[in-house]
């Protein structure tokens, strides 16, 4: 990963590029728990529903070490390499 310094006056947020949406879910799906307490309850239910309604997909669970910081590079690389989709449980 490359880190650069913002050359602007910083009044506009950095725009992230959104990955194109393909319209259907296939292949490997990551469920990312940000480690906020009880986030797993929601993700358990989501995993059950996804598996039931889309039997063709593979669901893998991941967790960030802490919700207060961005996911470590290694975890991001792992999720990105092994999955086609990610569902992240954000905040509460």
């Amino acid at each position: 990963m490359v880190t650069i310094l913002d050359p602007t006056d910083e009044r506009v947020p950095v725009e992230r590029q959104v990955t194109p949406r393909v319209g259907e879910i296939t292949g490997n799906v990551a469920l990312l728990d940000i480690s906020k307490p009880r986030g797993s309850v929601l993700l358990d239910r989501l995993e059950a529903l996804l598996t039931e309604r889309m039997p063709g997909i593979n669901v893998t669970r991941y967790a960030k070490p802490t919700f207060a910081k961005p996911a470590p590079d290694a975890l991001r690389a792992e999720i990105s390499a092994e999955n086609d989709f990610i569902i992240e449980g954000l905040a509460d």
Binding site: M1, L5, P7, A68, R76, S80
Partner: protein, 526 residues
């Protein structure tokens, strides 16, 4: 047990509290927009009322306004301490609020609670009651939630954390850090963000920016100018970031900083220069010893491509104006056609090949000063081709005829020009004893036209309006008007290779108070 960081914080009334004191301390980090913090504030208040005689109850809050809101909303008597700089929160590595730290009188950590777990807080109350011999706080524990997770501490917000980290490490960098994902191409990313003038940029990594900052002794956070149209603060660091992107070397930075200061003056009026539909652009001329030190080109191809200092210094100024000032084509930059000078235009004067006074001395500086002069020019360099004239009067005559086209041949008193005389043309002038003053006078002489020829007509409507001319008598209409309002509007420098009877000229924009006045500044750090 570990030693907790010492601190001194003030509450809203200016009363200070320090840690460690002489008694046990309970430190509780809170922030106002956290629902859990709001739920536990009455408990913290009850702790304060119960134990204040035996324990220092210290409650750092993370925003000034939020602290006031908490105090008012919960009718607190416990002072909320101002940690809006987040330095204490950062020193404690607080990730979640509320976070409680119990410390003994020497500042050793005894217990840490994160978020709200009723049993833990209740046990803490019992522990404090036992050790102090004071009564239990007045808390209806059954009405408290069993647990609440708390919220992220403001000091752990990635953008704030980067600044706090830099401060704690004494790094001079404060600019927002942008992480470009491993799968993204950093060059494409910078295009996508709109940082670029259309050409690839050097990624301004912290390492490169630090190297760039080594080129100046000025403080990285010094605000050197307020840059229109956004009125963005141009710090030394921000200019350095843009200089890295432009491809500059660290030793170029003092010149670029001086150029940024120069264009951000009322005289230069960078806002107007960028916004005009006519399409003006800064043209930078460098004089003095710095030319040699930076390797600026003043000879063959000086106004063209191929030299790093010329190309990247001009580009750095333009990128700074684009990114810090926010002047972008289609936004506040409204040039109808644009021109290639908007990428970069910087060159040096070949003073040693100039038999007259060099530009910076003419403009009031010492010969040994290194000076940047910046002009607002709308077109150029246009070529003035004369391989035939053998006298100074003929050659300056050629210049006049060519310069007549600035704006429009019938537009007199309208603009200024920057004339770049090539060495071969210099020699022609010298042979005939022509100096800058005689060149200027000759240009004015050959461009002088009777006003009657400058009135709007069937060929072109540009010039004096007919209604205005109708009010003039024949004598007034015969009055000769030179191209330029003043000989001072003809700026002259020497540059170019030894071979070729070709000189150049940049044509100006709205000249003087109504538009832009050229600015020259001494580069102090050389």
């Amino acid at each position: 047990m570990s030693e907790l960081p010492a601190f001194l914080l003030e509450d809203d009334a200016g009363r200070s509290s320090s840690f460690p004191g002489e008694r046990p301390a309970l430190i509780c980090f809170v922030k106002e927009d956290c629902p859990t913090c709001n739920e536990v504030m009455p408990v913290i208040e009850a702790f304060y009322r119960a134990f204040a005689d035996g324990v220092d109850i210290l409650v750092p809050g993370q925003t000034v306004e939020g602290n006031r809101t908490l105090t008012k909303k919960h009718a607190l008597t416990v002072p909320i301490l101002d940690d809006s700089s987040l330095k204490v929160s950062f020193a404690y590595d607080v990730e979640i609020v509320p976070s409680l730290y119990l410390a003994d009188p020497t500042g050793q950590s005894q217990r840490t609670l994160v978020g709200f777990v009723r049993e833990e807080w209740q046990a803490l109350a019992e522990q404090l009651s036992q050790t102090t011999g004071l009564a239990m706080p007045d808390v209806d524990w059954s009405s408290c939630p069993e647990w609440r997770p708390g919220c992220g501490s403001l000091s752990a917000d990635p953008l704030v954390a980067a600044r706090l980290q830099a401060e704690s490490e004494n790094s001079p960098l404060r600019a927002r850090r942008i992480d470009i994902a491993a799968h993204d191409d950093e060059f494409e990313f910078m295009f996508d963000q709109g940082f670029s003038d259309g050409l690839p940029l050097v990624p301004p990594t912290p390492e490169r920016v630090l190297r760039m900052l080594s080129g100046t002794r000025r403080d990285a956070q010094e605000v050197i100018a307020t840059m229109p149209p956004n009125m963005g603060e141009a710090t030394v660091e921000k200019v350095a970031i843009n200089a890295v992107m432009a491809g500059c070397k660290p030793e170029y930075l003092p010149l670029i900083l001086t150029a940024v200061e120069a264009v951000c003056t009322d005289e230069y009026n960078i806002h107007g220069v960028m916004a005009t539909t006519m399409g003006a652009s800064p043209v930078m001329v460098v004089n003095g010893p710095i030319r040699e030190r930076l390797g600026l080109n003043m000879k063959l191809g000086a106004l063209g491509q191929g030299n790093r200092a010329n190309s990247t210094i001009g580009r750095a100024l333009r990128l700074a104006i684009r990114n810090i000032g926010g002047a972008r084509p289609g936004g506040t930059e409204r040039s109808t056609l644009g021109n290639p000078m908007k990428f970069t235009m910087c060159f040096a004067e070949w003073e040693e090949r100039n038999p007259w006074t060099p530009l910076h001395v003419e403009r009031g500086f010492e010969q040994d000063d290194s000076v940047i002069s910046i002009f607002a020019m709308t077109s150029g360099p246009t070529l003035m081709v004369d391989q035939d004239s053998r006298t100074g009067a003929q050659l300056a005559g050629t210049f006049g005829l060519c310069l007549e086209s600035a704006f429009h041949p019938k537009a007199h008193y309208a603009t200024e020009v920057l004339v770049v005389i090539s060495p071969e043309h210099v020699d022609t002038f010298v042979r005939d004893g022509f100096d800058k003053a005689s060149i200027r006078a000759r240009i004015q002489e050959v461009t002088s036209r009777p006003i009657r020829e400058l009135v709007e007509n069937e060929v072109s409507a540009v010039g004096f309006k007919k209604a205005f001319a109708d009010g003039m008598d024949s004598q007034a209409l015969d009055k000769l008007l030179p191209k330029f309002k003043s000989e001072d509007d003809i700026h002259i420098v020497v540059a170019g290779s030894e071979a070729g009877k070709f000189s150049g000229a940049f044509h100006g924009w709205a000249t003087g108070e109504i538009g832009s006045i050229p600015v020259s500044r001494k580069i102090e750090e050389v």
